[in-house]
């Protein structure tokens, strides 16, 4: 085929060329067929597989977060809802130089260092095409400024989102709580699917306890995304189910009255509707604005709350554990009667102190400086005038074992199981408790201390309110509850087992004694009975903050205000047909009679004022005539 040839032979050259070209054309044909078969294989044989792959590539399911349930008070007033707010966000992908953009923005509107710091923290967790919030809750002015300057703020975006809002600000913070951004610890425990698209979670209070109901059910958008995950269009939608709306037993107006009654002081109040166990008001003062936590609180503000000597973040009504002091006396009296340690005719002599055989140190009565209550002190008088010596004597007789077990039935020493997180159980001391907690044996002196609600004994204001409600309802095991209905369906109460078996005679006796605390001329809370349009049963109390030597007198001038005694008051009304039970503690208020009791009057007045028109066929209506606004604490003090 190949020959050496010296001279050009055009014919032969053409022939060689033609042969080579035709060979090449065959080769091209074969290679062309290879290409065609390859594309045929991909597009015809494997079409289904690749069509599926292609859809998987582009179609994604994007969560559609539900709207959080709204919280109403018992009268339908909104306590927590969701408001559209304008937030400023930055889309990193479109922003160019971030620092420069932020500098430009901060020259237009105020940006705190905290805003910027938290922006960078959030930025790390987000994809470049997702807007990262820089500032929440823009004012209308800020929105206008940003809108006008939009052309120089490439990459920034004002977007509207639903943000939790608490119109009552600080009024319900300790009960209703607040939502906040999901933190790292929470994100490890929550169901990722249920929370996809949601960035807030209930942090405290009702918001936390009823999180599952309030959250709602996440929906989904089937969306087409590009290779970088940006959504191009929505293909299909499953709408989210909004969270359930909650109706609370709480009464906004009552809560307002109760909160204001503390007039800036420290303390707690719990009011319970006896018929249902529903909590009408629950105050822990001072409080703070729940809204400040929703979009994240600045470190400075948080530190201020945390380090305030008034401890505004501490939920006193639920977690504050105080010695109940004399407020425990009606209950212990009842236990004494029921256990037959005393009778209604048992009397003692009170010289102003109590001596226990074999113990040198005397137990003082609170009015020892006036020489005690004298001779012939019976249980009624001991309650009305709050005689400690009677209870020392009776306490020794009853014994700690009976005191402890019987008290538990009234909710002391254990959690009430209210529908709120973080409740503290208090302490109802017993032999076993002391052995376990202190590693020591029980002494008779311990019993004597407990018998007037001091010593090891601790209760929360909620427990005292529950105890009072149970006494008021003659042993009905009232279960405190905040949420009345979920989406209009009655919130089922927890079942409570045993009910104390106490004869009516004793209930009447105790109720009468407690009524006399308020209504008799010698009652410790007589200061509030003026202008009372209903009958009220109550009991004052004082809780020692520091222990005082037996031979020393309590002298307020010698100790700082923070160590003054706490003032307590428990009450229910009306005595004949109890509707409301209340427990109040005023920290360092010193006297239950002059500080705590007037608050009770204010709140109960307000309660009957609001319910009276609804119950106008009952006794209340007839006594309504001489109602006048509460005189408050000053007036009561003046009467002392």
């Amino acid at each position: 085929m190949i020959h050496k040839q010296a001279f050009s032979d055009p014919a032969r050259e053409r022939r060689i060329f033609a042969r080579r070209l035709i060979f090449s054309m065959f080769a091209m044909l074969l290679m062309g067929l290879l290409i065609i078969s390859r594309y045929f294989d991909l597009q015809i044989n494997q079409f289904q597989d690749f069509a599926t792959d292609s859809d998987n590539n582009r179609v994604h399911v994007r969560p559609a977060p539900p709207t959080r349930g709204i919280i109403y008070d018992r009268n339908g007033e909104i306590i927590a809802d969701n408001r559209p707010t304008s937030n400023l966000a930055i889309i990193r992908e479109r922003a160019g130089d971030l620092d420069q953009l932020i500098t430009k923005i901060s020259s237009l509107i105020t940006l705190s260092d905290d805003d910027i710091k938290r922006f960078y923290t959030r930025l790390k967790r987000q994809k470049p095409f997702e807007p990262t919030p820089l500032k929440f809750n823009l004012t209308e002015k800020e929105q206008a400024i940003l809108a006008v300057n939009q052309h120089i703020l490439e990459g920034s975006k004002i977007s509207a989102t639903l943000t939790r809002f608490y119109p009552k600000r600080d009024l319900f913070t300790h009960v209703v709580g607040y939502v906040g951004r999901i933190n790292e610890r929470e994100s490890n425990t929550i169901d990722d699917i249920a929370y996809s698209g949601t960035d807030s979670i209930g942090k405290t209070g009702i918001e936390k306890f009823y999180e599952d109901s309030l959250l709602g059910q996440v929906g989904s958008d089937q969306v087409e995304t590009n290779a970088r995950g940006r959504v191009m269009r929505v293909l299909d939608k499953v709408s989210p189910t909004p969270g359930s709306d909650l109706q609370l037993h709480l009464d906004s107006q009552l809560q307002q009255v109760a909160y204001e009654a503390f007039s800036g002081g420290r303390g707690a109040l719990v009011a319970i509707e006896i018929e249902t166990g529903g909590v009408l008001a629950m105050v822990s003062a001072p409080s703070y604005d729940a809204n400040s936590f929703v979009s994240g609180i600045s470190q400075k503000d948080y530190d201020a709350l945390l380090n305030s000597p008034d401890k505004p973040m501490f939920n006193r009504s639920l977690r504050g554990q105080y010695p109940p002091g004399s407020t425990i006396k009606p209950l212990f009296g009842l236990i004494g009667l029921q256990s037959r340690s005393i009778t209604t005719s048992t009397t003692i002599e009170d010289p102003g102190y109590f001596l226990m055989e074999g113990i040198e140190r005397p137990w003082r009565d609170h009015n020892s400086e006036r020489g005690g209550h004298g001779k012939g002190v019976d249980l009624a008088m001991a309650i009305v005038e709050s005689c400690d010596v009677f209870f020392y004597t009776m306490g020794v007789k009853i014994g700690i074992d009976t005191l402890a077990t019987s008290s538990q039935v009234f909710g002391l020493g254990k959690k009430t199981d209210i529908d709120l997180p973080g409740e503290r159980p208090g302490i109802m001391p017993s032999r076993i408790w002391k052995k376990q907690a202190r590693g020591a044996s029980w002494f008779i002196g311990d019993t004597i201390n407990v018998s007037i609600g001091q010593g090891f004994m601790l209760t929360t204001p909620l427990q005292l309110a529950v105890m009072t409600a149970r006494i008021a309802s003659r042993g009905n095991l009232i279960q405190p509850q905040i949420v009345k209905a979920i989406d209009g369906v009655k919130n089922p109460a927890l079942k409570v087992a045993e009910r104390p078996n106490i004869s009516d005679e004793y209930w009447d006796y105790i109720h009468d004694s407690m009524r006399d605390v308020v209504h008799s001329t010698k009652g410790t809370a007589r200061g509030i009975n003026k202008h009372l349009t209903y009958t009220m049963a109550g009991k004052t109390g004082t809780a020692q903050v520091i222990s005082i030597n037996a031979n020393e007198e309590y002298d307020r001038s010698k100790i700082s205000e923070r160590q003054w005694d706490h003032a307590l008051f428990v009450a229910f009304a009306p005595v004949e047909n109890p509707k409301i039970a209340i427990a109040i503690i005023v920290e360092n208020g010193e006297h239950g009679s002059s500080v705590a009791a007037p608050i009770a009057k204010t709140v109960i007045d307000a309660y009957f004022k609001s319910t009276a028109p609804k119950n106008n066929n009952q006794t209340l209506a007839s006594t309504k005539v001489s109602y006048s606004k509460s005189s408050g604490g000053d007036d009561a003090d003046a009467k002392q």
Binding site: S8, E13, L21, L42, Q46, N57, E224, R228
Partner: protein
């Protein structure tokens, strides 16, 4: 065959040839090229995300390309033969210039910035090398002797090595092929073919260890198992196969291809544009394009077989063949049967220099097709 040649000779210098001689335009080729350009712009519009700026630039290059083609076609073939060495040398100079002053991206230095636009000199060598070789070999013995073959190989390898240095292995291989095909058409002896084949095989380990860069090795490994690294270097090929496969017989419709419109497909307007076509126009679109290509190549072969001079024959033949090689390499690479090398799809992929080079090539083909019959000069 002799007889055929004779018949053609009688026919070709006929009257119609002289008529077209005045304008030097090959109308069948012109119509095919216009069809390809329109098709190409259509696909590019979709592939570039409906961005008109791509279309404007590409169309500008096409218009310039057509003008260049007409200009090139008007020169008689013998001038091109005479000036081949000059163009080749100029091309080499540009390649040196790229190595010295080139600009580029992703670690490669492939472009020369000439102010208003960027040029990729390596593309020009796809025509420059066959031009040079055709000129060189047509004046030598056919089939070429060892000495001439060696010189020819040197002429091929010099630019190829310069292009590998950029580095641009794909273009280097195509330049090598364009020269080698000229040699083949010139009747390169069977033993040289076998020798080249064996040398190529022997060169594989050397290339692998000393010439190929890591990313180039990666691309070859990726070809063998693209699913190994779906998000890394396998991404391109997995996505392009998905795009093509999901197009099915009829395609998803123009600008409706989700793979390309949603940016899953990388380089969708340049090297991987066939995947856009496959996705949006389906197998029917692919076959339509292949038919157009086949007709272009058939026309090139026809021109080559009817060329009046050895130079014209060799040049036309190798330009036609290399055109096919472009198509084959690109379509093979995008569909995952060849490694990913930088090889655009002729007339369709976005890229100015490639378009201009193709039109220069077609200008030469038109010059050859209208070459007047003259006495061959004899060595």
């Amino acid at each position: 065959m002799r007889n055929n040649d004779f018949v053609r000779r009688i026919k070709s210098p006929g009257g119609d040839r002289k008529k077209s001689g005045s304008t030097h335009i090959d109308f069948p080729l012109l119509i095919l090229l216009l069809a390809l350009c329109v098709f190409g712009l259509l696909v590019l519009y979709s592939a570039g995300g409906q961005d008109l700026s791509y279309i404007k630039r590409q169309a500008t290059f096409m218009v310039v390309g057509f003008c260049l083609m007409f200009v090139v076609a008007q020169f008689e073939v013998r001038y091109w033969e005479k000036w081949a060495f000059v163009f080749y040398s100029l091309g080499l100079l540009l390649l040196f210039a790229v190595l010295l002053f080139g600009v580029g991206a992703k670690g490669a230095q492939r472009w020369l910035d000439i102010g208003f636009t960027r040029l990729q000199p390596a593309e020009f060598m796809k025509v420059g090398v066959p031009l040079m070789l055709a000129a060189y070999l047509s004046n030598r013995f056919i089939p070429p002797t060892l000495k001439h073959t060696s010189w020819a190989m040197a002429m091929i390898l010099l630019p190829a090595v310069l292009i590998v240095r950029q580095p641009d292995l794909g273009t280097a291989l195509l330049v090598f092929f364009s020269g080698f095909l000229t040699l083949f058409l010139a009747g390169l002896g069977l033993r040289y073919l076998i020798l080249t084949f064996l040398t190529s095989i022997a060169a594989v380990p050397i290339m692998w260890n000393f010439v190929l860069l890591d990313y180039q090795k990666q691309r070859i490994l990726t070809l063998l198992s693209p699913e190994q690294d779906k998000l890394g270097s396998g991404w391109n090929i997995v996505q392009s196969k998905t795009a093509i496969g999901s197009g099915g017989l009829n395609g998803k419709g123009w600008t409706e291809g989700t793979q390309s419109q949603l940016n899953f497909l990388p380089e969708s307007h340049t090297d991987f544009i066939i995947a856009v076509l496959g996705e949006e126009f389906g197998l029917i679109g692919i076959l339509t394009l292949l038919t157009l290509y086949a007709l272009v190549i058939a026309r090139c072969s026809f021109i080559a077989l009817n060329a009046q001079s050895q130079f014209g024959r060799l040049l036309a033949g190798s330009l036609g063949l290399i055109f096919f090689i472009y198509v084959f390499v690109n379509m093979g690479m995008v569909s995952g049967i060849l490694p990913v090398v930088g090889a655009p799809l002729p007339m369709i992929s976005y890229g100015g220099t490639a378009i201009l080079t193709l039109f220069i090539g077609f200008g030469l083909l038109m010059a050859i097709s209208t070459e007047p019959n003259r006495m061959r000069k004899v060595l």
